[in-house]
Symmetry: C2
Subunit: 374 residues, 2 copies
Amino acid sequence: MDKEELERLLADKKSKDLPYTRILSSMCTYPHEVAVHAHEMFIESNIGDSGLFKGTKEMEDEVIAIIGELMGNSNAYGYITTGGTESNIQAIRAIRNSKRREGLCDMNIIVPETAHFSFDKIADILCIEVRKAGVDHQLRVDPESVKELMDERTICMVGIAGTTEFGQVDPIEELSEIAKDERIFLHVDAAFGGFVIPFLADRDKYKFDFTLEGVSSISIDPHKMGMSTIPAGCILFREESYLKELAVSTPYLTTKEQYSLTGTRSGASVAATFAVLKYLGKDGLKKVVDRCMSLTGLMVDGAKQMGIEPVIEPVMNVVTLRVNDVNGVVEALRAKGWEVSTTRSPEALRMVIMPHVTEEMVKSFLEALNEVVR
Amino acid sequence: MDKEELERLLADKKSKDLPYTRILSSMCTYPHEVAVHAHEMFIESNIGDSGLFKGTKEMEDEVIAIIGELMGNSNAYGYITTGGTESNIQAIRAIRNSKRREGLCDMNIIVPETAHFSFDKIADILCIEVRKAGVDHQLRVDPESVKELMDERTICMVGIAGTTEFGQVDPIEELSEIAKDERIFLHVDAAFGGFVIPFLADRDKYKFDFTLEGVSSISIDPHKMGMSTIPAGCILFREESYLKELAVSTPYLTTKEQYSLTGTRSGASVAATFAVLKYLGKDGLKKVVDRCMSLTGLMVDGAKQMGIEPVIEPVMNVVTLRVNDVNGVVEALRAKGWEVSTTRSPEALRMVIMPHVTEEMVKSFLEALNEVVR
């Protein structure tokens, strides 16, 4: 096939992908222009063989320090993963391996019932039981429920800082206290919230990071609110020993061992993450969050004016609305060109106000919603 | 930081990465220009939420059919992974889950002792024992050794079509016969060889794909000899039921379930793989392999003229040379600007003749080698 024919074919495929300007259902967005530029510049870099790509490796080390500092610990240990699922797998695998060496078997972890579906995948992969703790009326995990599920085979509690469905933050300060009392590993899934909560006006209400002594590890995704390119997740451990639990020796590479789940690994996404963090800095990241939160407020207020109430007052840039016949509304909105998603319990419409969302989009969406629910 | 400062910083990091023109140790290479173009065009696409990116999904389906056909089965079931490690994890996980549902525990798999280090990682992750079978004098797995290691808890045999260290191909036809006799799952790791062997002049000597009835699954990496962008691996199963073993239900996405290890997943790499396969076609892929094999011959002949013998006559584009003081030679070559790697057993110099290698590079490398070993 010649290049012209290929170009036509790619353009045809592209036309079948939705632009993010119609998408309110996703935690992904257009990567920042500096991310795209850096990604292209390092497109061939394989950070999995970091002795060959020492510049990329320096960027990864700097990114880990920057994100660590954002998470309250500039000496955290970790690496850039393929995303939240790998980060969560690796956190649970690290504590599992540590306990397995002590002779423990039939282990379990406790996650909120609002945890991301990846924890079911992780249970399957790692041969671990996942117990699901109940939540309060604000859809935050109930620490009492967590304690009730705990037994001598519980190796880890998980708290969510920004639930996928509701954008809610678990009471991680309380989980941290339990973690300290019970000497149990506490993993915080901040895949979505990690780049949001530190920039909220009322962030002190939502402590979730390494400044809490009981927090052992954190997942945070640059390819979500960090506006980096896919694949870019990040796993951070407070203690190096847990990262070491993941080590596999790597003959025929330029490094002696590797901690990542994958072997060959995108250096381009590392460069992209580095570029966004350096270019935006904390001030720039805060502006992104401020804008998303302002549009979140606009959407919720608009919905309330129609008599539609949110399931919870948004903590971050996720809007969930109580409507009748949720699936019917989703289909009707789709017919009008809007992609939204739903929550399960309670059933509601769900919109994520990512950086690609504009005021015009919110207003136009509200008009469509008004027509649909009338 | 402003854009100019960022640009200088990125350029500084880039200058510390080695260009592939100095690298003979890696199974990665510059992605093809059409891969880079397609990657950029679909940079924001998340194939993990494929209902939003239907054009990308169409490309993935076509890629699976094209690679399946190349592997002797255009009706194979699979998806584009992050690379060989994920593909191998998923193959072993599929058969493990199937056997676990039958009540089996303490399972084991048998891999050649020449298998990629990712199988040690997989054993750790999936809680499975990995048994390592011996190899013959040509460094191909010994089917008798495989049979001796087998017991009632053996759920899978692995054959390698293109070993990482020597580029050797296991006698997969014989493994396939054992697989049929013993009714056991046979996974073929063709991460490297999958895009090489079908284009070799003597390919009939190296049967390894779904045309062998006993082969259950194949890993093959577009981001190695397929000249796609990182991350692009591929797992293929003969039977859909094994893919289904990997299913996790996915609320709040546009699809009902997901088979991949990761959640968010690069659509850009899918587009890149699609572009290379469409643009080059089988003829183009064969030309790439022809050229690599010709340069492989040039390097081995040049070494022989210096009195240096290869460990095995190259089957594919991997050259291993017997030299004294291997690590000293590696360091001396590095001082001359060449990155090569080593094999473990026997110890030898190892060079991979990827598509970025030119005749000038081979000649210049041979001169350096001559000076070093003299």
